[in-house]
Amino acid sequence: MGMRWWRSWLIERPQSSVTNHSVTVVLPTGCVTVARTLDCLGAACPRPQLLTMKVMEQLHEGEVIELLSDNPATVETVPALMFAVGGTHMATVKDVDHWRVYMCKGLQVTPENKPSEGRV
């Protein structure tokens, strides 16, 4: 049993993953449709940033990416990252032990996808 547990995080624990989908999420500022979810739980910088940029490349203008991270430094750097890559940081939502960060490709944001600065 104990050995199993060790194996699971040593060998089988996935580093990060991307899900392609189209789900609607309620943010404090309104509803958005998420095109990709990037799960970076457990990953440290710079991996989440590099993967976010990679996924952004595959998206079209206006599409939304959701990043799951439990690394505070990563979450905090997202607004600056969006500034650098020409995206829009829409919202950061704190769950019990991780954050969900919503970003949109491009500077154009549709009315219901209004960006909200700072943490929620």
Binding site: Q15, S17, A44, L50, A80
Partner: protein, 484 residues
């Protein structure tokens, strides 16, 4: 749900969370206080050690608050073109230099300039390369360990042991030292207990470092010990102007284009650029604020430690340890590592060295441990408690900000932490310090060798980012499109 009820629910959630997280934070502070009382009840002279410990806690609070990490400063700039942390770090340098100048002017600075040579840039290069893989520099790994990041604890472990091993390594690695070092080291009048002509690090120290001279800008300009020397030569010329020049460079290369595009400015005037520069600077507020706070407290630590030394009539904690009856682990000069200010890597090397010594490794015949720093029991290692304090202080802040979480590394992260940490340890010994001891504490005290270390660290960071990206590409090409 209407807007008000959402807000209400949010407030309730936040209140509950605060309640929940105040307890562990207070427990940590309580335990440190309890430990302090216990130490003082053994001997009141342990107050000297406790000053280190409590300042460590304060540094930890500030490091976590400002996310003070040189690794992210260098890496984010090159990997993703985000200058935020680099900007914060440079502002922190400028602010720190002012408090350092005040300390110098008041005459209680314990700073000693570092000798300048090729080793500084080489050490920085190795250190910078390693820290991209660990995800944190020396100070960053400590605060991240406090956030519950087990990977960062592995980094601290690797830094400790790689340093301890590198300063004692002998045999075939001695071939790395040129013959001239051998001659120069042999010419030094060394105590017979030491084997300074054996072991490459001893040859490096006695045969190379000791022949170099360190200096400050104030000394070069003949203004040492004056008010102008402290504020104009050491703070303005050595720290503030170089930091400003770098800020302008970062603005031009990393911030300007996006800023102008966002503000929809097509024909920018000088005023627009100044606005942009200001926007860049103010976007790194918390790091800059933490830097100012760190400067203030580092100055206070120098002052309090100086006052305690005067009170006990000592120059070094080793004398106090001897008076209290602890003779084990003192150096040949009866001293231990006791910088009196913010330092990180040397005490970590002592932890690793002490454990190896307990395991039967003979490592007191070298200059680093045997002559300079000693090898005290970790329970008596004052700067060591500063590092532990940093971890605990960061844990307190992380709990208060609801950011604490035990995070086990994946196998890949763990391997990176160990390899990167080992490289950082090697780089720190060759470059004579880490991002704090060799860069931050030097440039802010008028010692330009720190900028050379930074240049090396930036170069190493750039190479590290290239290597890391190549690794990610290789991984994703093997694992398929959707699994990185």
């Amino acid at each position: 749900m209407n807007e008000e009820s959402v807000l209400q629910a949010k407030r309730l959630f936040v209140d509950r969370a605060r309640e929940r997280n105040l307890r562990p934070a207070m427990t940590i502070v309580g335990l440190v206080a309890l430990g302090s009382v216990a130490a003082l009840s053994v001997d009141t002279r342990f107050v000297y050690l406790l000053v280190y410990a409590w300042f460590g806690v304060i540094y930890g609070l500030l490091l976590q608050y400002g996310r003070f990490c040189m690794a992210s400063a260098v890496r984010d700039l090159f990997a993703v073109g985000v200058p935020r942390m680099a900007v914060g770090m440079l502002i922190a340098v400028a602010l720190f230099s002012l408090t350092a100048a005040t300390v110098q002017a008041a005459g209680f600075s314990t700073f000693a300039p570092h000798p300048l040579g090729w080793h500084v840039i080489l050490g920085g290069l190795i250190f910078g390369f390693g820290m991209v893989f660990t995800g944190g520099c020396a100070s960053g790994s400590l605060y991240k360990a406090g956030e519950g990041n087990v990977g960062s604890m592995l980094v601290v472990f690797a830094i400790s042991f790689s340093q301890a091993i590198i300063v004692t390594a002998g045999g075939w690695v001695d071939a790395l030292a040129p013959a001239s070092w051998q001659v120069s080291a042999a010419a030094k009048d060394m105590p017979p207990e030491l084997t300074a002509t054996e072991g490459w690090f001893d040859l490096f120290t006695a045969g190379y470092i000791w022949d170099l001279k360190g200096t400050t800008v104030a000394e070069t300009m003949g203004m040492e010990g004056t008010l102008a020397g402290a504020f104009i030569a050491n703070a303005l010329f050595s720290a503030i102007l170089p930091a400003l020049a770098l800020l302008v460079l970062i603005y031009v290369f990393y911030f300007r284009r996006n800023y102008l595009r966002r503000e929809k400015i097509t024909t920018p005037s000088l005023g627009n650029h100044l606005d942009g520069l200001w926007a860049m600077i103010t976007s790194s507020k918390s790091t800059a604020l933490a830097g100012a706070g760190l400067g203030l407290f580092a100055g206070m630590q120098m002052w309090i430690t100086g006052a305690l030394r005067e009170h006990y009539g000592i120059f070094n904690f080793g004398e106090l340890l001897e008076a209290m009856g602890y003779q084990n682990g003192l150096s040949l000069q009866g001293t231990v590592f006791d910088p009196g200010y913010w330092y990180i890597t040397t005490q970590e090397a002592q932890w690793g060295g002490w454990i190896l010594n307990q395991l039967g490794v003979e490592n007191l015949d070298n200059i680093f441990f045997g002559l300079d720093n000693g090898l005290p029991n970790p329970l008596l290692n004052a700067p060591g408690f500063m590092s532990i304090g940093i971890i605990l202080g960061a844990a307190v802040m992380a709990h208060l900000r609801r950011e604490f979480k035990w995070k086990l590394p994946s196998l890949e992260t763990a391997v990176f932490a160990l390899i990167g940490g080992t490289l950082m340890g090697i780089g720190a010994r060759i470059g004579m310090g880490c991002n704090i001891g060799a860069f931050f504490a030097t440039v802010t005290n008028g010692d330009l060798s720190g900028w050379v270390f930074l240049a090396g660290m930036v170069g190493g960071g750039w190479l590290g980012v290239k290597a890391f990206n190549t690794w990610l590409e290789w991984r994703s090409s093997r694992a398929g499109e959707c699994d990185f």
